[in-house]
Symmetry: C2
Subunit: 205 residues, 2 copies
DNA sequence: ATTGTCTGACTGTATAGTCAGTCATATGAC
DNA sequence: GTCATATGACTGACTATACAGTCAGACAAT
């Protein structure tokens, strides 16, 4: 369908514009220019600017979490699933470069604002993804590969750690290949930094 | 000095306005209203809106990292220092509630933008703080309490994990007391999630 | 001729930034 | 002590501009 194609085209253009100009500098006119259409055309597909930007962010989240879920589903054990999760997430950070820059550089969409009742929905998507991670870890605890601990917190921490890697990449602060980042993250999350075989210093706490 | 007092007053008002209205909805007029002065007065202390907002964020970062450094300096061992770091950071998240909401809901200031050459400075402050954490961990590795690993990455991950806790609090997603959050974070960062004494499942990787 | 898609000049509005003028206090002349 | 002058902090009506959103008409395609 032509309509759907146009919508996607405009949303992609929106992501590109926000990625390069920030939300502040992203005007409807610039989006139209980027999509190579007239400003008025944008309003044939979206009610207003807010709807346009909300839709762009939402499409991005849906695409990303959808792909992660699909890939993770192929793995069997909790450990393999987490490996997959981290690897796929980081790989996608290159594919979705523009979108992630958009997402990371602006978090307003998570804040409830008077003219943003859709923000609540965005928050739901975000929480759903964390919950998805939480369940994998919970499984691991049940099976015994992960020790009993506050799973809600560790799911959250893992997600934030991944997010941090995205950011480093978006800001161009690292040259490490994705696979290396994934390995480091996994190792850290699994084993922590403490020297388990130490016999020198004072004990923890 | 009266001038300094006024400047601080305006910056505090800016943080409050941004915290409640977001960067989008934060106008100079609203800031003036919040500070109980006329709009024109703002321009006696700041060249333009950009400078005002940049200064507000910068003041917040400086205050925060300064306090963390002071408190951490009192601790002796790397482990104690990290404990202190996490605890103090989370405690401050209540004190600086408005500022953190401001900071977390908007990351544009980290992105280089044409009319934001100061953004580079902001990035420096951010990186300096991570470097500060990095050195503590590095010390721990040197002494032997922490195992050898990619310290740059773990410093980064720890900072992002703390940031994540801030965000949960700013968005009102958790009711956990700060000290509990600190404990969970510390435990996770030190020990990881893996069951070290397991003898059931497959080995890692 | 009709329909569907698109255009871009136009308008209305919000708000950044200005500036002529007010007020309060300090300094000084007598 | 009283008036005159100066200084500096502050004000808010005003302007200039940028940008969201509109709409009358162009342009295929059938």
């Amino acid at each position: 369908m032509l309509r759907e194609f146009r919508v996607r085209e405009i949303l992609d253009a929106t992501c590109r514009v926000v990625a390069s100009h920030g939300f502040q500098g992203a005007t409807v006119e610039r989006v139209a220019e980027e999509a190579e259409i007239a400003k008025g055309t944008v309003y044939l597909y979206f009610q207003n600017k807010d709807e346009l930007f909300t839709a762009a962010v939402e499409q991005g989240i849906q695409n990303f979490t959808g792909q992660v879920r699909t890939q993770v589903a192929e793995a069997l054990t909790p450990i393999e699933k987490l490996q997959r999760l981290i690897e796929v997430s980081l790989e996608l950070s290159d594919t979705y470069r523009d979108f992630f820059k958009t997402l990371l550089l602006e978090r307003n969409f998570l804040a409830a604002s008077p003219n943003h009742p859709e923000a609540a929905h965005m928050l739901d998507l975000y929480l759903a993804h964390i919950h998805f991670i939480e369940e994998i870890i919970q499984d691991g605890v049940r099976v015994g590969v992960f020790r009993p601990h506050n799973v809600e917190a560790s799911a959250f921490v893992l997600n934030e750690a991944i997010r941090g890697c995205f950011q480093q990449r978006a800001l161009g602060l690292t040259a490490r290949p994705v696979s290396e980042d994934a390995g480091i993250l996994l190792d850290l999350f699994f084993n922590g930094v403490l020297n388990q075989h130490q016999n020198h210093e004072e004990p923890v706490s």
